[in-house]
């Protein structure tokens, strides 16, 4: 019996990944042809990005405070307080920025996209689009994906900047480190490739969040209970994959040679 359960779960997972891959190719086809609703993409950018600024700011600020406090305390003990800025910024650019923005967007946007699309399926709005010969992928997924790609990157950079400001503030209090020394250390430590990695991670996060939430939402069947299940499923899949792919990208770009 447990084996059947595992087989069932694996089959459902494989089916979902197949739906995501197929949807991604169709979405990219529309984007490459420039065949999408620009007004809707703007609207989605507002929903995904602008409405996430506050929550991302709070999370990034608290993460920056906590991280900077820990790092300052340890490095001061070793007399390496001038390296605080470099260590804090490395963590922020390489890991914390993309992860914070990704997790917050997954929680706030991924779940609401899945719930919205699942409700549209259940209330026959998706069928209505098909009868009107409007492709739901072009109409619903493409604008969200464009908005997700743009705004997740913006939010990651924003989270990174807020985290840095928090770091500067804490370093000045806990280690009595001037902002100029902190920023000089940042300048000497951060390389261009760190920003490339930051960019790659942000875009992968956006792809995971939008594609999985849309695929789960659009393939929901049943009633109100299934909308809740779709939302939970989206959170589980996107959060897990954000951390998995974060590790994969890190291991590919920063593994010791």
């Amino acid at each position: 019996m447990p084996l059947f359960f595992v087989e069932g779960q694996v089959a459902v997972g494989v089916e979902l990944i197949g739906q995501v891959v197929s949807m991604w190719f169709k979405t990219m086809g529309y984007i490459i042809r420039g065949d999408f609703d620009k007004k809707e993409a703007w609207r989605q950018s507002y929903m995904i990005g602008v409405k996430s600024f506050t929550v991302v700011a709070i999370t990034a600020l608290c993460t920056g405070f906590a991280m900077s406090l820990q790092i300052s305390r340890e490095l001061v003990l070793f007399g390496a307080d001038t390296a605080i800025g470099g260590v804090v910024s490395l963590a922020l650019v390489r890991e914390i920025g993309p992860i914070t923005a990704g997790v917050m967007v997954a929680g706030r946007v991924g779940s609401s996209v899945a719930a919205e699309l699942a409700t549209m399926v259940i209330t026959e709005q998706i069928d209505a689009l098909k009868v009107m010969r409007v492709d739901p992928i072009r109409f619903l997924v493409v604008p969200r994906y464009i908005a997700g790609l743009t705004m997740t990157l913006v939010l990651s950079v924003y989270a990174m900047a807020i985290g840095l400001l928090a770091g500067i503030y804490i370093a000045s209090i806990a280690a009595n480190l001037p902002a100029a020394t902190f920023l000089d250390s940042v300048h000497q430590t951060i390389l261009d490739r760190d920003f490339v990695t930051h960019f790659i991670k942000s875009e992968i996060n956006a792809t995971i969040i939008v594609m999985f939430s849309c695929a789960i939402g659009l393939h929901t069947r049943g009633g109100a209970e299934d909308v809740g299940i779709a939302t939970t499923r989206t959170i589980v899949w996107t959060m897990t994959l954000i951390f998995v792919f974060n590790y994969i990208v890190t291991s590919l770009t920063y593994a010791p040679r």
Partner: protein, 239 residues
């Protein structure tokens, strides 16, 4: 020479998993005619509409349409909540790539036809159930379809609003001269609107005739359905 049908259903079969919903049903619908597709819940009526619109693929049989211009009025209206009434209708015109002024004129005409002139900028949540239903009608006819399908158009409405909706169906049917199918189990809807009735039971057609004949026939299925009694073959195996 006999008039060709606008829509022909030939030996249509459909299953969901192990459950056989349609067991080879056939019928034709002609221009200007409104076919009432009636029967108990779960007998496959709405499935037929989805097969006609290509929302589902049949397991067997064929749907022959003499026009691809199809309008479908959904049971729950199925309007896009984040779009205004005008934007909902404009979506249906999307394929025609019209100038904005032409598009607005068509939309205003159709809204006027269903008594919703002045509601173009309202959102579905600002409309009553009856107004949402009429918006759904306007959206279904915005391209002047040759085939109109109504999926339980009066379900959930009060008797007065049901009468209003039935009047619109009759009016639209007369104006557009389209072939229509109305899926319903509401007595007033099929007796008032349908020019011909097809009764379904367990995925098959079990009776066909006019609304007048339906209420007097001795066919056990139709008699039980029309008089809403427990006595008859429809409940066998269900209770």
């Amino acid at each position: 020479m006999a008039m060709p049908p606008m829509l022909e259903i030939v030996n249509l079969q459909k299953s969901f998993g192990n459950r056989e919903i349609l067991k080879g049903i056939s019928f034709k619908v002609y221009k200007g005619e409104m076919l009432g597709l009636i029967g108990p819940s779960g007998c496959g009526k709405s499935t037929i509409l989805k097969l006609i619109c290509d929302l589902l693929t049949p397991d067997g049989g064929e749907v022959i349409r003499w026009s691809d211009e199809i309008g479908l009025v959904f049971q729950g209206s199925a309007l896009l909540n984040s779009y205004t009434v005008r934007e909902n209708l404009a979506l249906a015109l999307n394929q025609r790539k019209l100038k904005k002024s032409d598009e607005n004129k068509i939309i205003d005409d159709k809204l006027k036809l269903v008594g919703l002139a002045g509601y173009a900028d309202a959102y579905p949540s600002q409309l009553s159930g009856g107004q949402q239903k009429r918006t759904s009608f306007a959206r279904a006819i915005v391209n002047d379809p040759k085939i109109i399908l109504y999926d339980e158009p009066t379900t959930g409405l009060d008797p007065v609003m049901s009468t209003v909706i039935e009047d619109y169906m009759l009016e639209l049917s007369g104006q557009l001269d389209a072939a229509s199918i109305v899926v319903t189990h509401q007595y007033s809807t099929w007796t008032r609107c349908a020019s011909r009735i097809l009764l379904m039971h367990a995925g098959k057609a079990v009776w066909e005739g006019s609304a007048e004949e339906a209420v007097v026939t001795e066919n056990p299925y139709m008699k039980q359905f029309a008089h809403a009694t427990r006595e008859g073959p429809m409940l066998s195996g269900l209770l």
